[in-house]
Symmetry: C2
Subunit: 481 residues, 2 copies
């Protein structure tokens, strides 16, 4: 089967959602939430809520059974208890449905005979009729271009990142958090127990998909290791692949088995394979999202020499330590550049005029633009990292937004005018007002093509990983391997 | 000198602030901000704003010179440019002031003859008259019990944590962020260039201070290494000492020299000394705050065996990996406990009934209380870590607070009723509404004596460090060293 009929999963022309409560607005979980999500995401084709009681919900007629739906149905979402899923599958086969997604759980992941047998029976029925199965026990698909979504509060803007994410909760978090840092997705799929559609199929599909330029994979385990590795190698030759492999400890592997029935596999085997195919391995979900941000916004970098600019002497010392520990280089500035920067700033007290640079006492007056101009002209650095350490300013919180917005405008203007890469770190957020401002600031940055991170450590680690990715790729290109 | 007259720094009976703008409400930085901070923090003694122009500000008479102030003045804050500080020091000596704090910068940290000479001259004058100097180039003191503060938006509640923090910005961030996780301070001091009052004096003072039970130190460098190490060893024998040593890389050391004129010292020397005296060394400012939370809330722990409880299968797999990597143990539950937990939950689909435990599909109905009761009764675990992974729930954001509050109430009630330690991790925050809820949730937890962390990694690392601290201390106790 592999990738056949996966188009019906990502680009269905019509969708039936089975198990929509008729009081769906109050009980927006399960079927009702899917219906709301498709509406919010702008699904263009017909949407058919299904419930034996019939009636109407969100302005749509409710059908008692998928077989009662008048037109053709490409894709069916099951949000009913497991006990009704075999009959539903039979109804879908009879209706000529192309793919089913089971949000429903209670199958092989429970590790018991009954659930395992039911999952197998449904799969056999589907295979006999060429119907694909997503799941069971998963969130399914977010594909903004086609208007399919598992979440009501997401953007309907499309982008280049394709995400294969076994876990539904982590897929939701990924979409929410990455979107707020400017990542836009071609398609995201949570595939749970992977009874049919699995990591290998999806890796093959994403590798071929012209709308996907960057592949993210969260993997608890794979069943057919050699086949998956082949798909991974093929994908990684074409596109950056960022892998978060979990279940790497004994208790984590036990949890993965209970969660999606996965066999986690030895961690060092994964390490070796990912290194060999030049997939970028990350250790945490934050780093996973960081790399999606990094590949989405960064051009191919030219080097590790960074100018650090920010406010706060202590924050500046910490920033230097962290960037250096993560493999970047913070070269001291030559005397001539220090002299010119001092002229621009016009004062020395309460500042550090070197690399790293701290403009604490003077930034409000001088702004960042003229400094970033000097950085852009100086050939000794490849990149600037500007840190906005929001929580360490003594001024009353209400005054912060005004100050930070001025500095942010300077950064956006400098990136546009000078073309030398700038990365923004927004850190030390401690108040709800600051958090709201941070979300605005992130959006202002990504709309200007600027990547944002939550810490110097995360920004530096991501930058270093990006460099390593290209260094390894180029070395392979040269050696012809 | 050492600790003599440091009481006048932390518990002055009267304060003059020199360099308060007469339009202070609009220009709340420098002197005006200090005045506002003392008022907000409830300073009981007289406050004397000083400005040659005289007038009135925030309802207080402004004096042209400290010598014009009618009553005695214990403590003077200089918020004027460096050029006027020598004359101010002379005036303070004439007035019989006990301690001066220089918010003013532009001294030895610039690395130039003039600033170095001025700093020395002021110090010599102060020493001749037994007056102490805090700084220059720093934020000074936050001592809620006496109503002294460098920040207007802080709590006036006191606590057991004393913090020695060379950097002012980091001191501000520390106070803001740690306070929101329930840490309360005996005193916090940012001491900048340390021309007089230095890390050694402060370590000695904090070691003796009956109001300080836990010592935090952020250090860029110390001048007299052997004397500091002796003070550190003495303090660490009496109280937990948590050290964030920065300037550990070449560029970080360069920044530390420009920031506070510090010589950072070789990192591996620090490592050895801190290990030897059983001070807890941390690597980041987040971990530093984590340990203040940990020592503030945790009783002496009995072991590393943790029960993990949360929502989200993927989040649960990640949590197991991270807790295990950080040195904790997540033992699988015996069959009997799993059976009883299954009875309590009443369903298996969409859950993981083991350790780690995931109640995704059922938590809303079952709550956490009956599960935490089982954990409390089970002798095989020492501690529960409950994770509220806010951003991965598919329900609309507006419904979240209600759901989370119910679970949080269960946690607080269980901790109270059963007495077995519970730690709360609030993570995956992606929306401003969630952030505001997180702040409320943290407060609800710390008011009930429960520690909160931002990730499983941070919670586990902190717990492991706490255990190591007590293990080493007990081993020394036994060997009599």
């Amino acid at each position: 089967m592999s990738t056949s009929n996966l188009d019906a999963v990502f680009n269905p022309r019509s969708i039936a959602i089975v198990g929509v409560s008729t009081k769906a607005s109050a009980e927006q979980f399960g079927g009702g939430a899917y219906l709301q999500s498709m509406i919010n995401c702008g699904f263009k084709g017909p949407l058919y809520p299904v419930n034996p009681k019939g009636g109407e919900v969100m302005g749509l007629k409710v059908y008692p059974n998928v077989r009662d739906i008048p037109g053709p149905v490409d894709y069916v979402i099951s949000a009913i208890p497991a006990s009704g899923t075999l009959q539903l599958t039979k109804d879908c086969v009879a209706k000529g449905v192309k793919a089913m997604h089971f949000f429903t759980s209670g199958f092989s992941e429970l590790g018991k005979g009954e659930g395992i047998a039911l999952e197998r029976e449904i799969l056999a029925l589907a295979r006999d009729h060429g119907m694909r199965i997503v799941g069971p026990n998963c969130m399914g698909v977010y594909c903004p271009k086609s208007g399919v979504s598992f979440l009501a509060d997401v953007t309907s803007e499309s982008g280049a990142v394709g995400a294969i994410c076994q876990s539904g909760g982590n897929a939701i978090y990924l979409v929410r958090e990455a979107a707020r840092r400017g990542v836009r997705f071609s398609k995201v799929i949570s595939y749970g127990n992977a009874s049919d559609v699995n990591a290998t199929d999806l890796m093959d599909y994403m590798a071929d998909d012209p709308e996907t330029g960057i592949i993210m994979a969260y993997i608890e385990g794979v069943r057919d290791g050699p086949r998956f590795m082949k798909a991974l190698e093929r994908a990684a030759r074409r596109k950056p692949v960022i892998v978060l492999k979990v279940g790497i400890t004994e208790s984590g592997a036990r949890a993965a088995a209970s969660h999606t029935g996965s066999l986690a596999g030895a961690d060092r085997v994964w390490d070796g394979v990912l290194e060999q195919v030049n997939a970028v391995r990350v250790a945490t979900i934050e780093e996973w999202i960081d790399m999606a941000v990094t590949f989405s916004f960064f051009p191919k970098p030219v080097g590790r020499r960074v100018a650090l600019l920010g406010l706060g002497g202590g924050a500046t010392v910490l920033a230097s330590d962290e960037a250096t520990k993560e493999g970047l280089v913070i070269p001291g500035f030559p005397e001539d550049l220090r002299r010119r920067a001092t002229e621009v700033v016009g004062a020395e007290a309460g500042t550090i005029i070197d690399n790293p640079m701290d403009l604490s006492a003077e930034a409000w007056r001088v702004g960042y633009y003229p400094i970033l101009k000097l950085f852009a002209e100086y050939k000794g650095i490849d990149l600037s990292i500007v840190h906005l350490s929001v929580g360490l300013i003594a001024r009353p919180p209400a005054m912060h937004a005004e100050i930070w917005n001025k500095l942010l405008d300077d950064i956006v203007r400098a990136e546009k005018d000078f073309g030398k890469p700038i990365v923004v770190v927004i850190q030390m957020v401690t108040l709800a007002e600051h958090y709201a401002w941070m979300l605005e600031a992130r959006e202002k940055c990504y709309r200007a093509g600027i990547a944002t991170y939550n810490s110097i450590r995360h920004a530096s680690r991501s930058g270093n990983r990006l460099l390593r990715y290209y260094e390894k790729r180029d070395a392979r290109g040269r050696s012809g391997s």
